[in-house]
Structure formats: structure tokens, C-alpha cells
Symmetry: C2
Subunit: 236 residues, 2 copies
DNA sequence: ATCCGCACGTCAATGGTGTTGACGTAAGGT
DNA sequence: ACCTTACGTCAACACCATTGACGTGCGGAT
């Protein structure tokens, strides 16, 4: 149970692996992201990552204490990517929409890591920056502090909750994902009007709508409600 | 790969296990919920569940095709508990609020299981009943089908997503939960106005608000927006 | 220029996981 | 009372994360 991890700063004596690769924390995180992108979330195992790196699987434990630490490092990379190259425009509604959709998209692009990250308060720089940005958008739009805080809370939690929800669906093993999709056709499609009148009546629309995420519409509803709460003046 | 599962209805020839237990789908689901509540989500493995039941692990495959099917059954049980002893009142807004809060409460009351279940479509009886109920509330309130479907989707996903989010927080080991709570005081409380003006200004309100779930307010915002979309007549 | 300590890549083993084919017992229908 | 077969059990397979032991060869020190 001795800790075989050496902090990235103090690292020395790098030695190529049998297959010639030179390992580093950065290379491992990027290889993990590529592995997931290319072979799907379920392909990320220590053994496969080792193989992809051209190293013995156990070499990873020189860089990360366990797979959890590795996934957190991957997740941290994701949070950064969500905010990369964007600044507020000054239009609160457009800004909130963009932030919400960016968080959602970034998490969905790497579901496995997102699942670990979405439920935690990290207190790390990227998270702090996001909090400051959202609060700033609301306060500068003229919402009084008490209201801004409640809206902030609802908005951020909703973005993270939906991101986790949709990421979880993407992270399922392919078999389970296929099952969930088929359930709508096979089970809900067969219900008859006399026992389930509403489902039967709405089924075609329902089956179509459930194929995509409910977040964009839920976000728009929230923005509608927030606009209605905005204190007079420039209803902007 | 032959299917060893016999549908619950046609089941016969029940035989006690070596240790005297008489298995049933219902007993297995309840044992699984107890196992999770008592030993945590990571304790749910086929082997341990078999042991808890006093049966050979492989006996489970006579009742569920695989662990995924078992999880779906557990999820459906939670949905069922959320609806127990409730029927719509005819006031769409009050009904939607009650359903949302009930789902949220049911999942939070069993956080470990909720985490495994909240992301799945079960296609099982309790879920079907919930879908029919929510759709019925919307359609009978006068929402046209297309709109009712989109609102249904946003509403249900929001409830499940927040339920999972808040269940995840409750499911953390006590030490980690305390740490996450302290982050707000320790990290966000120390930010200065010159680098983070908005967080600094709103901090007391923020720290207080973040202690409880953002769901009730988010739900109210969604209901506000839905009310505004309601086609004329009796504004709900 | 040489030496030496130890960092780090490798190997092998441990104990976990889900899942399945084969088997025999005993329960139900006849 | 028989016969069929449901279903509980056993054993095995292939995978997983993790860790103790080991020795190679790099880097710093001399």
C-alpha cells in the first residue's frame, strides 16, 4: 500500500517503456481521452489504457494513485475545455444559454469522466471562474443579490444535473443503451388507448421527442421564467 | 446464452435454496435495496446479493437476464414508492409540483440506489403509470399534444436529474460530504472583491442558499414558464 | 569519467467481478 | 406413481483493479 506516485514536478529518470513510449501525466490523460473518444467509454480500463500507451498496465500507478484519481484528472481537463475561448457578451439571456449549453456539451463529450465530476464541489480554479461568471451575468443584468443567488443556484444545478443525466446515458454499456432506446418503441408503443389513453394518443410525438435531450427546452423554460422575474426597466 | 429467465407470472416449482430461502422477483429487489441502503452502492454485486439471499449467485439469473435487468427493477420500485397513495387533484400546477417533489424525495430517501437507477428508462409498470399520469395532467389541462410532450420531457428529466444530483451528495461518505460543504466556506469565503467581485458581494447569501437543494426553486421556475405557455382560456 | 542509489517499468499474483454450461434434485401435472 | 422439467448449484471462464518484488538503467554526485 506504499504510494508509488511521484508528483509531476519532481519527476526524473524517465525511462522509455519496452515498446518505446515515454510516459507522462499529460500523455496518459490525453491517451485516455482518445481511447474513450475512439473506442467508447467502456473501453477505458487500466489494462487497455496501458496497452494503448505501449506500457505495462501497472505503470499507470506511478502517475495516479488509482483509477479515480486518473478520471478526476481527465474531468478537470473537461471543465477547462467548457470555458475555453468564451467571454460574456453582456446580453444576460444569450450568455446564460451559452454557458448552460457549453457545460452540457462538454460533459456529454466525455461522459465517463463527467459522471465523476458533476456531483462534486471542487473549489478549483475552473469552477471558481464559472461561478464568478454566472453570478456576474445576473448581477450586471440588474437582478438584486437575493434573487441573483437563487437563480444562480437553480441555473447551475440544473445545468450540472442535466449534464450528468445525459452523460450517464452515454456512458452506459452499448447493450444497456440500446435497451433503453428500444423500450420506447417496444413497451410504450404497444400500450392501448383503453388502458393508457394519454400515452397512446401522444406516442408518435413522444417517441420522437425522447430521442434527444430535454435540456435545451428545459433551459429555455427557465430563461423564460427568469425573464419574467426581472425587475422592470429594460426587460432585456 | 440460453435465456434461463421465466416470467414472474408463469413461475412454478419454487424450491427453497440450500439455506432455506424461497426466492422471488420481489424478494430479490427488496434484498438488493436493503443491501445498498446498508452497505452502500458498491456492495451490490451478484455474489454478495446471492449471499444476502442465502442462495447461489447464479440463481439470480433465473429471475433477471443480467444485472442490468435487476437494476431496472430496483429503479422501478423507487418510482413506485414515489407514487404510492397519491392521485391527481385536477389542478395541473399543484399536481406537477407534487409529482416532482415526490420523485425527488423518494430518490433522496434511498440515495445509493437512486444513483444507480435515476438514469435509466425501465419500461416497467410503475414507470409507465407515472408517464401516463404526467401526460394526463398536461393534456387534460388543455395543452396541445406537441407542447404537452415537450413539457413532459423537460419536467420528468428535470425531476430525475435533480434527484440524482441531490442523491449523489447524500450518498457521499460522511467525511467527503463534510469536505464538500466546507469548500464553500474555506475557498469561496476567502475570495477578495478585487479578483472576484460578484462572489465576494453575494457570498453570505450564496453560502446560505447552497446548503439546500436548488430543485424546489428550479421546479417553480419551470411551472411559471409552463403557465405562461398555456393556451389562453383559464390560465391554469 | 565513473560510480551508485533509486525511480520506474515489468512481472506475477491476489481477490474481485459478471456470466454460462452442465447437472441433479425435487416439485407438479397427469 | 411416474415423468418432465424448473430451478438451485457447481465449476469454470474471461475480465477487472491493484500491489509486492525485482532489476534495469538513468541522473546526480564524485
Amino acid at each position: 500500500m506504499t504510494d508509488r506516485v511521484v508528483p509531476e514536478g519532481r519527476r526524473q529518470r524517465r525511462r522509455p517503456t519496452k515498446q518505446g513510449a515515454v510516459l507522462s501525466e499529460r500523455l496518459i490523460v490525453e491517451t485516455a481521452l482518445n481511447l474513450i473518444a475512439w473506442h467508447g467509454a467502456e473501453a477505458l480500463s487500466v489494462r487497455r489504457l496501458g496497452a494503448a500507451l505501449g506500457a505495462d498496465p501497472s505503470a499507470l500507478y506511478r502517475y495516479f494513485r488509482n483509477t479515480d484519481a486518473l478520471l478526476l484528472a481527465v474531468a478537470d481537463e473537461l471543465i477547462g475545455r467548457a470555458q475555453q475561448g468564451w467571454t460574456p457578451t453582456g446580453y444576460w439571456r444569450a450568455d446564460l444559454r451559452t454557458i448552460g449549453l457549453r457545460i452540457h456539451a462538454s460533459y456529454c463529450s466525455n461522459p465517463q469522466a463527467a459522471l465523476l465530476a458533476a456531483h462534486r464541489t471542487t473549489g478549483r480554479p475552473h469552477e471558481i471562474r464559472a461561478v464568478e461568471t454566472v453570478l456576474g451575468v445576473l448581477r450586471e443584468a440588474g437582478f438584486p443579490d437575493g434573487l441573483a443567488v437563487r437563480i444562480y443556484h437553480a441555473f447551475v444545478d440544473q445545468a450540472l444535473a442535466f449534464a450528468a443525466q445525459d452523460a450517464a446515458a452515454l456512458a452506459l454499456p452499448p447493450a444497456a443503451r440500446a435497451t433503453d432506446a428500444e423500450v420506447w418503441q417496444e413497451v410504450y408503443g404497444r400500450l392501448t388507448p383503453d388502458t393508457h389513453p394519454h400515452i397512446a394518443a401522444a406516442f408518435p410525438l413522444l417517441a420522437a421527442d425522447m430521442r434527444s435531450s430535454g435540456y435545451p427546452f428545459a433551459l429555455e423554460l427557465m430563461l423564460d421564467a427568469v425573464a419574467a422575474l426581472k425587475p422592470a426597466a429594460d426587460a432585456g
